[in-house]
C-alpha cells in the first residue's frame, strides 16, 4: 500500500525525524495562504500516488505570491501518469549544502531489512543504482540486533566526517528503522535528506509503502489508504476471493492460481495477443466465484474474448465444469469463450462441458492461439 508524501512525512515527524515545515492544500486559495504563511521561497508539490511527478512538472519552486498562484493553478488538476492531482503540498524553501539518500527496505537475499544510504541523494535512486551502483551503500540489519546504536553510527560514519552530523544521523537512522518496523513498511525512503546551511539534517521528501499482508494489524496505516479506481476494483475482487489486475489487452483471462495465471498471460503474448487482465480465481469450484470473475472481466470494455484456463488439482475438473455451467447459465455473455480444462478428473470434466455445448481445447497453447484468433475475428 502506498501513501502520499505528506502522509509519510507526518509519520516521520511523529518519530521526531526533522521534516520541512509544510501545509497540505486542496485549492489555489489555500496554496496562496500557505505560501504567505510559510514565506518565500516555497515549493509546491503535487501529491499523487505515483513516481515521476518532478519530470511531469508537478513540483515548482515559487519566489512570490504570483508564482505560487501560477504553480497551484498549473499543478492542481494535472494528470500525472493517469493520476489527477487533487492536493498539493506547500513546503518552506530550504537552503542546503548537500543531498543524501536514506532508505530502508526488505532484502529477499539476506531475509532482513536493509538500510541503504548514498551521498548522491536528490535524484531517483534507481538511476544511481544503474549508473553508479557503488555510490549506494547497503547494510543488512540483523533482526535480533535491530538498529543498534553502534550500527547506526557505523552507517553515519560512512556518510559524514563531521561529528555533529554523525550524531544527528545516528539518532535519525535509529528512528527511521523504528518507523519501518512499527508500521510494517516495505519501504521507507528519505530522498533527499539534506544538510541545511545550518548543518542540520532535514527530510525534504518522504516515501513509504507498506506490506499489504500486515495491514490487518496496522489500522492507522490502513486508514491512510486512497485506492485509485483500478485499485478499488482489485480490492473488491480480493474481497470476493479473486486476485485481479487490469491490463491493456483484449483477451480476458480467468485462471486458477497466480503462477498459472502469469504463465497464461505469457502464453497469450507469446502468440502475439494481449491479455486484458491477470485474474486468479483460486482453488474453489464455487459457481458464484466464477460469476464474480466473469462480471469483473466483462466490466472491461476492451475484452473481446474470454480465455478460461483451469488446472484441476485438489479441486477436481468435473466439479469445476459443473461450476462453470452453473455460472454460465446465470450470466449472459455476448463474446466468445475458450475453455481449457486439465488435470484431475479432466476426462469427466470435459465430457460435462461437451454435453453442455461448451467447446474446449486441450492445451494452454491451443487455448491462447484460439483466443487470439477469436479476438481478431470479433474485431472484424
Amino acid at each position: 500500500m502506498k501513501i502520499h508524501e505528506y502522509q509519510a512525512k507526518e509519520i516521520l515527524a511523529r518519530y521526531e525525524i526533522p521534516v520541512t515545515n509544510e501545509i497540505l492544500c486542496y485549492s489555489v486559495g489555500e496554496v496562496q495562504d500557505a505560501a504567505q504563511k510559510l514565506g518565500f521561497p516555497a515549493v509546491v508539490k503535487a501529491q499523487v500516488l505515483t513516481g515521476g511527478r518532478g519530470k511531469a512538472g508537478g513540483v515548482k519552486l515559487v519566489r512570490n505570491g504570483e508564482e505560487a498562484t501560477a504553480a497551484a493553478e498549473k499543478i492542481l488538476g494535472m494528470d500525472i501518469k493517469g493520476f489527477i492531482v487533487e492536493k498539493v503540498l506547500v513546503a518552506q524553501g530550504v537552503s542546503f549544502v548537500s543531498e543524501i539518500y536514506a532508505g530502508l527496505t526488505i532484502d529477499r537475499n539476506t531475509k532482513s531489512a536493509v538500510f541503504m544510504v548514498s551521498r548522491e541523494g536528490g535524484v531517483e535512486i534507481e538511476e544511481v543504482a544503474k549508473d553508479n551502483p557503488e555510490a549506494i551503500l547497503k547494510f543488512a540489519i540483523d533482526p535480533d540486533l535491530g538498529m543498534a546504536p553502534f550500527f547506526a553510527r557505523k552507517i553515519a560514519f560512512a556518510l559524514f566526517d563531521d561529528m555533529n552530523l554523525v550524531h544527528q544521523a545516528t539518532d535519525l537512522f535509529q528512528k527511521l528503522y523504528k518507523v519501518f518496523i512499527d508500521t510494517d513498511a516495505s519501504l521507507v525512503e528519505i530522498n533527499p535528506l539534506v544538510i541545511t546551511s545550518e548543518n542540520q539534517l532535514l527530510a525534504l521528501d518522504g516515501k513509504m509503502t507498506f506490506d499489504d499482508n500486515a495491514l490487518f494489524r496496522q489500522p492507522e496505516i490502513l486508514a491512510l489508504n486512497e485506492p485509485s479506481e483500478d485499485e478499488k476494483k482489485e480490492i473488491d475482487a480480493k474481497e470476493k476471493g479473486l486476485s485481479y489486475i487490469r491490463l491493456d489487452g483484449s483477451i480476458g483471462c480467468m485462471v486458477n492460481g497466480a503462477g498459472l495465471a502469469m504463465a497464461t498471460m505469457d502464453m497469450i503474448k507469446l502468440y502475439g495477443g494481449e491479455p486484458a487482465n491477470f485474474l486468479d480465481i483460486g482453488g474453489s469450484s464455487n459457481p458464484q466465484k466464477v460469476i464474480d470473475a466473469m462480471n469483473l472481466i466483462l466490466s472491461d470494455k476492451n475484452v473481446k474474448v474470454i480465455m478460461i484456463n483451469i488446472f484441476g488439482g485438489i479441486t477436481r475438473c468435473d466439479d469445476v465444469a459443473k461450476g462453470l455451467i452453473a455460472a454460465l447459465e446465470q450470466i449472459k455473455i455476448q463474446i466468445p469463450i475458450v475453455i481449457r480444462l486439465s488435470g484431475t478428473n479432466s476426462k469427466e470434466g470435459l465430457a460435462i462441458l461437451k454435453s453442455a455445448n461448451l467447446p474446449t481445447v486441450e492445451t494452454m497453447s491451443e487455448a491462447a492461439q484460439k483466443a487470439i484468433s477469436l479476438s481478431v475475428d470479433f474485431l472484424r
Binding site: K111, D211, A263, M265, K269, T344
Partner: protein
C-alpha cells in the same frame, strides 16, 4: 532417497482442527503420509481423522516423536506457530498459510537458523516425494515417482508442469513449492544442493517467476555447484512493473526482477529455459538422453 520428506517423515499438523487443516490432513493420510499428530490449543484429547490432537507442539513432539510439521493456522499466527515448532525441536516446517507479514518472516529467520530448523514457505503448496510422503495441499494423484527434482514459486503452475512430466512418463523424486512471498524459507540454492546430493535425482526443474533476484542467484549457484542438468521456466514475462501478480513476491520493482533478466541469467550459465510449460518434457528428455 528423495529430499526433505520420505517414509521416515512423522508429520504434525498445526491448526488441524481448522477447515483447511482438517481437509488436507485427510488428503495427506490418504496419500500415505505418516501423520502422527495435530496441534490445536484447547483441543487436546480430541482426534481428527484418527490423528490425536495436542495443545502444544511440545506436547505433540513428546508423545509422537514428530520430526516435521505443516502449518495451516491463519496468517497472523503463522510465524508464531513456526517458532513453536522450532522451539519444540521440529527439524522441518512447511508453512502453507497465505498472507504472512514479511517482517514476521524476517523476525523468525535467525531463530530458525539457531535451532537448525528448515522452513518451506510460507504461502506455499507444500512438497511431495511421490509414493513416500505428501505434505501440504498438493494434488497427490498427478505425481509419479521418478528421477526429476522440481522446485517452484507457484502452485497451480507447478501442477501444470508436473502433469506434463507425469503424462510424458517423467517421474519426480521430490517436488517442492517454495512459496510466492518475498521472504521465504528454503530457496533455490539450498534445494539445488539437496537435489545435487540426492542419488535419486537425475535432473532438476526450476520454475521461477518475476520479482527479486533469486533466479539470478540460482543461476550463479548452478554454474558453481550443480553438475546435474537443470531446466528452467520463468512465469510473468509479460507482467507490468509495479503490479503485484497475485504473489507478494511476484512484483517487478524499479526495472529489476524482470523475466527477461532471469532468462538471460539462466541461459548465460547453460540452463535451458522453456518458453512454455509444454516444452519442459522435451528439454528434459533431450538432456537425460531418453
Amino acid at each position: 532417497m528423495s529430499i526433505l520428506v520420505n517414509k521416515n517423515t512423522k508429520l504434525l499438523v498445526q491448526g488441524i482442527t481448522g477447515r483447511d487443516g482438517s481437509f488436507h490432513t485427510k488428503k495427506m493420510i490418504e496419500y500415505g503420509t505418516n501423520v502422527v499428530g495435530g496441534v490445536s490449543p484447547g483441543k487436546s484429547g480430541q482426534s481428527v481423522h484418527g490423528v490425536p490432537v495436542f495443545n502444544t507442539v511440545a506436547d505433540a513432539v513428546k508423545a509422537t516423536g514428530a520430526n516435521t510439521s505443516v502449518i495451516f493456522v491463519p496468517a497472523p499466527y503463522a510465524a508464531d506457530a513456526v517458532l513453536e515448532a522450532a522451539e519444540a525441536g521440529i527439524g522441518l516446517v512447511i508453512a502453507i498459510s497465505e498472507g504472512v507479514p514479511t517482517l514476521d518472516m524476517v523476525r523468525i529467520t535467525p531463530y530458525l537458523q539457531k535451532r537448525g530448523t528448515k522452513l518451506v514457505g510460507a504461502n506455499c503448496p507444500g512438497l511431495i516425494s511421490p509414493d513416500e510422503a505428501m505434505v501440504g495441499i498438493l494434488p497427490g494423484n498427478i505425481f509419479l515417482k521418478g528421477n526429476i527434482g522440481l522446485m517452484s514459486r507457484s502452485g497451480t503452475l507447478t501442477y501444470e508442469m508436473v502433469y506434463q512430466l507425469t503424462t510424458n512418463g517423467l517421474g519426480q523424486s521430490t517436488c517442492v513449492g517454495i512459496g510466492g512471498d518475498p521472504v521465504a524459507g528454503l530457496y533455490y540454492e539450498e534445494l539445488l544442493q539437496m537435489f545435487e546430493e540426492d542419488p535419486e535425482t537425475d535432473a532438476i526443474v526450476l520454475i521461477g517467476e518475476i520479482g527479486g533476484d533469486a533466479e539470478e542467484r540460482a543461476a550463479q549457484y548452478i554454474k558453481e555447484h550443480i553438475t546435474k542438468p537443470v531446466v528452467g521456466f520463468i512465469g510473468g514475462l509479460t507482467a507490468p512493473p509495479g503490479k503485484r501478480m497475485g504473489h507478494a513476491g511476484a512484483i517487478i520493482s524499479s526495472g529489476t526482477g524482470t523475466g527477461a533478466e532471469k532468462i538471460a541469467a539462466f541461459e548465460a550459465v547453460g540452463v535451458q529455459v522453456a518458453r512454455q510449460p509444454s516444452e519442459i518434457p522435451e528439454l528434459l528428455k533431450k538432456l537425460l538422453k531418453i
